[in-house]
Symmetry: C2
Subunit: 214 residues, 2 copies
DNA sequence: ACAAATCTACCACCTTAGTGGTAGATTATT
DNA sequence: AATAATCTACCACTAAGGTGGTAGATTTGT
């Protein structure tokens, strides 16, 4: 099954944990730990030296943290797939890692079989994520509840115009689309900015997308 | 354990499936199906009539689809928690439902015990999502690969300024932050807009957040 | 050491955005 | 029927954004 002989580098500042994972991995015929590192700098250097197929990277390390290390390794041109292997299920950590382009995010409290399965899936090209993170991810995609009330403050016309602003339209273009005068558009923009207490249409546009208002 | 006596409405256009789910649910002491509907319109009406604690809503129905029905029920002021119960694991469907504010998204091929557990968790206030959707959600949070190459076209300074633009800063403020003249900032803005072929800083800001560039 | 790219700065000019005010027409609300 | 809110429109003015050009200083690559 799965990939023939996958080479792996382990990055974690706890020797005991590395030992455990190595033992687990070496039980699999097709998996082989070819390098270990105990911090980010070492990881970056060894990634180039050993060019492993896959890197299991701890998130919380002294010195360079996981995300910084990840970015460096990616930038260095190494072809390794990189998986975060960490205890943190905090939204910020998960999102940061995803945005930095990890190929997987696995929690350390996963079952051993799960870890092995995830490794194999990652080498198949999947983006692997520990199942318990589903909630975390879903939440970050949801609109904030509070922001609804802000929309309520705006009249229909203002909401409509805010929608166009958040698409990057200029006042002139909005006027054309709504078939009203540009001066009228300006009035609405002025009023809606005041209502939601923002200083410019850019802030308004960013506000819309960040809060997923529409 | 968990909630005492949860009232549930089932919405699905397949009578057989409803039958099966009803039987499953009625096995639980604290769960009770108080209403069924076979389409969106009926669901909206009965949501108000029976005011169930929880609504299991099919996504693909004739007439009003699940998301539209969801929005209507929410707007009508019903207090019910609403869970999508569907076969679709497509990214578009999941995201649409989340943005519309569902309280859960459960796949129909879940194990019966899972469904029961999800229902109870949802009533505790959790956002419940079937585990197999983790990948789907994670992917939608990732930056698009192609957009990296666009960043490569920009010089360091231009990237830096684009970052500020995407935070809503004006040229004047950017100049202050970088301790350079506003006229210089304008030069960089002019050049970066030309390079990524956009017409205004708003489009640039939106481009950044939509592609999760930083 | 030289060329190319980048960063800096200024200028003039035009466009777009935002503010303050007035004011008529339409739509809800009471 | 009367009031309030909203939508429409215009004006004048200030601020901010964007374009085109020139040009010196610095960094990078060869």
């Amino acid at each position: 099954m799965s990939h023939p002989n996958i080479t792996i580098m382990l990055v974690d500042d706890h020797p005991l944990l590395r030992k455990g994972v190595v033992q687990l991995i070496e039980l699999e015929d097709n998996l082989q730990v070819v390098a270990e590192a105990s911090n980010g700098e070492e990881a970056i250097q060894k990634a180039l030296e050993f060019n492993p197929d896959l890197i299991l990277l701890d998130l919380n390390m002294k010195g360079l943290n996981g995300v910084e290390t990840l970015k460096s390794i990616k930038q260095s041109g190494a072809q390794s797939r990189i998986i975060m292997f960490t205890v943190s299920d905090s939204e910020a950590d998960v999102l940061q890692a995803l945005k930095a382009g990890v190929d997987g995010y696995i929690l350390k409290d996963s079952e051993p079989e799960e870890l092995i399965e995830h490794i194999n899936n990652a080498m198949r090209g999947d983006l692997v994520i520990s199942a318990p993170l589903t909630q975390v991810l879903a939440k970050s995609l949801r609109p904030k509840v509070e922001s609804d009330s802000i929309l309520d403050k705006l009249t229909n016309r203002e909401q409509q115009i805010l929608r166009y602003i958040s698409q990057g339209d200029s006042n002139k273009i909005i006027a054309r689309k709504l078939d009203i005068a540009e001066s009228t558009v300006k009035v609405h923009v002025k009023n809606l900015l005041k209502k939601i207490n923002l200083r410019s249409r850019i802030e308004a546009a960013l506000f819309v997308v960040e809060n997923k208002l529409f």
